[in-house]
Amino acid sequence: MWLWFHKLASPPHAYRVLGKLAPWFGWPALGLILLATWWGLVKAPADYQQGDAFRILYVHAPTAWMSMFIYVVMAIAAAVGLIWRIKLAHAAAAAAAPIGASFTFLALATGSIWGKPMWGTWWVWDARLTSELILLFLYLGYMALRSSFDDPQRADRASAVLAIVGVINVPIIHYSVEWWTTLHQPASVTKFDKPSIAIEMLYPLFIMIVGLQLYFGWAISRRLRGEILRRERNASWLKEAR
């Protein structure tokens, strides 16, 4: 088990495996995202209260969900890197950050665009919106902190601490709609006993989430390969690899 793990975490091996995996993430991601878009825009029925504006759900909820998911992935990778001193884990955290930041931006922007016709305002300083904005600042702060060090090892350690401390914000985002009074509607999907959303409206949502997960898998594979090459600039395997 440990032997296998060390082999996987070795840069040359990871570089090869990621290169093989990436297309298996990328192509299904493209297919599922297109399918979910068509389903959400064309096939799903309009909402009886929100009309066609509810279709924003299919880009808003999955991107918001991804913004939190990627943060947790980043924090776990940073923790693994910090505790077991695995450089590849730090590299993975660094590769995840810009992708997570872009999903957070999308969640905020599409939420704002949805809020205007439904709530009559682009933005309110309530718990859900504010904590999601803090998530964006955590991503940006993480990236800024990394780039402020010349020494990659110090950058890894300092930014890992920030990523781990910041993970407290993720449950705050999730439960903010229950803990505080807010304009944002409570969860309607993650109530497994009985989701309060029609099943034919749910399929495109799940397809979009799976599609974006695969998209993230593709993007982090590509970025991580770049990150590995950058960190291993003087290693001998680089010459053997080509």
Partner: protein, 52 residues
């Protein structure tokens, strides 16, 4: 299906199409950025290995 009706989105066209357009744009930029990140490091690794 009536195409005009589809593009009108029940009067929410501006909101719906902006959301989807923005999402498509950011996913596309992310895709390009990830590819560039990998390609740039591959190029610089190639250049280093050819000089020594």
């Amino acid at each position: 299906m009536d195409l005009n009706e589809f593009f009108r989105m029940g009067g929410y066209a501006g909101y719906v199409w902006t959301s989807y357009g923005l999402t498509a744009l950011v996913l596309l930029l992310n895709w390009l950025a990830a590819r560039r990140c990998e390609a740039r490091e591959q190029e610089s690794a190639r250049r280093r290995s050819s000089t020594d």
